[in-house]
């Protein structure tokens, strides 16, 4: 039983590492606006919805946010709180849509809902703590860019889920650990 837990933690840690790697890859992509972020680091969370249990999904999220805070050095600043709040809102929303929507909602729909939740929470935080009430006028721009990035990441996730042999293998291995090692 211990080895199954260890394997599960190892998969969780690797998915967290994949988030950090994709975040590093995103730095190489030119941005149309200074504050614009594609959110490629959310891809492992999105595909992880399909097989990770809620605790491990939240652990991957925590590893992603903590790792980014440590690498960028923003752990002790408002950037970390924005990232944490946006990511938690996104994962909670995506989990709800994925479970309620079932086979009627694809990766694009799930991703879109997560991106919208993240954008709304981050705009609310920005209005409350950074820019003040008048910053409500940036809400349409922020939510609009959230829709665009949500669509793009959703399409990426769809392609990754349908084409990745690695993901199929990890999913199978993870499910095996949940079943206590039984095939």
């Amino acid at each position: 039983m211990r080895s199954e837990i260890r394997d599960r933690r190892e998969i969780t840690a690797f998915l967290g590492a994949l988030c950090l790697f994709l975040s590093a890859v995103e730095y190489l992509i030119p941005k149309p606006l200074p504050f614009f972020r594609l959110g490629l680091a959310n891809l492992p969370l999105l595909v992880g919805l399909r097989f990770l249990n809620p605790v491990d999904l939240l652990l991957v999220l925590l590893l992603k946010v903590l790792g980014q805070g440590l690498i960028n050095g923003t752990l002790a600043s408002y950037v970390f709180l924005f990232s944490l709040a946006g990511s938690v809102a996104s994962v909670l929303m995506m989990s709800a849509v994925y479970r309620v929507g079932g086979r009627f909602v694809g990766m694009v729909g799930v991703s879109l809902s997560g991106a919208l939740a993240s954008s709304i929470v981050q705009v609310a935080l920005a209005v409350t703590f950074v820019f003040g009430e008048t910053a409500r006028i940036i809400a349409p721009l922020s939510i609009g860019s959230g829709i665009v990035t949500g669509l793009i990441i959703g399409v990426f996730a769809d392609r990754f889920v349908s084409g990745s042999e690695w993901l199929k293998g990890i999913e199978k291995r993870y499910r095996k650990t949940l079943a206590g090692g039984r095939e």
Binding site: A17, A24, A76, V130, W166, R173
Partner: protein, 222 residues
């Protein structure tokens, strides 16, 4: 913020006292009143970030301060300084916007100077973060394989090579496996623990600067 220069702070102060020093400098920074003092401390934190080897994107931070100030100016209050058509620049709105923007940017500078990837968290979470960074390094080693043209195929090959779902835990290092603590190992742990406290004195010296400045503003009533 790319780490292009040597980390001069890291040579003298270990990650844990460094992080603690950063956290201890936050209260006087948040409590201090008056834009010039707040801006002075933000510049001090920027200097620390530069000493930490970080290349700061000045344009980004100036844009952030300007945008925060701009949104505050949309709700005018205080003496009118300037009128540009319907847009009014008032002292109160300008000062509060600049103070807010500078406070946020200073916090980022302080965080960038205080936080290192080597910072270890205690307990199980700490172990998991350590494993995450181990895998992150492993993926980074093979990142040359990634191509923009066949991104998903090359990513899949890279992941399969670095973390084969069928092969692990055989391909994991001993770090993931519990190793019995021997006398030699215990000595190493002791030495590492002593090293983790390195630089407490210089850290205290740095922490005192914002506290003294805050106390001085209180005593002199400026």
């Amino acid at each position: 913020m790319k780490g292009a220069h040597p980390d001069r702070i890291g040579l003298r102060i270990a990650p844990v006292p460094r992080f603690a020093a950063g956290m201890l400098m936050l209260p006087p920074y948040l409590l201090i009143e008056g834009l010039p003092y707040k801006a002075g401390l933000a510049v001090f934190f920027a200097l620390l970030a530069v000493l930490a080897g970080k290349r700061l994107r000045w344009g980004y931070f100036l844009l952030l301060i300007a945008s925060v100030a701009f949104f505050h100016l949309l709700a005018p209050w205080g003496r009118v300084l300037l009128e540009i058509g319907p847009f009014t620049v008032t002292t109160g709105a300008l000062e509060s916007g600049l103070t807010r923007g500078i406070t946020l940017v200073g916090m980022v500078f302080l965080s960038v100077a205080a936080v290192r990837p080597e910072l270890e968290f205690p307990g199980r979470l700490g172990g998991l973060v350590g494993r995450t960074f181990y895998h992150f390094d492993s993926i980074l080693e093979g990142n040359k394989r990634l191509t923009g043209k066949n991104f998903f195929i090359s990513l899949d090959e890279l992941l399969m090579e670095r973390f084969n779902p069928e092969a692990f835990p055989a391909n994991l290092t001993a770090a993931a496996v519990e190793i019995p603590v021997t006398a030699e190992k215990a000595d190493t742990v002791k030495a590492e623990s002593a090293g983790s406290r390195r630089g407490r004195l210089p850290a205290v010296g740095v922490v005192l600067i914002p506290w003294f400045l805050w106390a001085w503003t209180l005593l002199t009533g400026v």
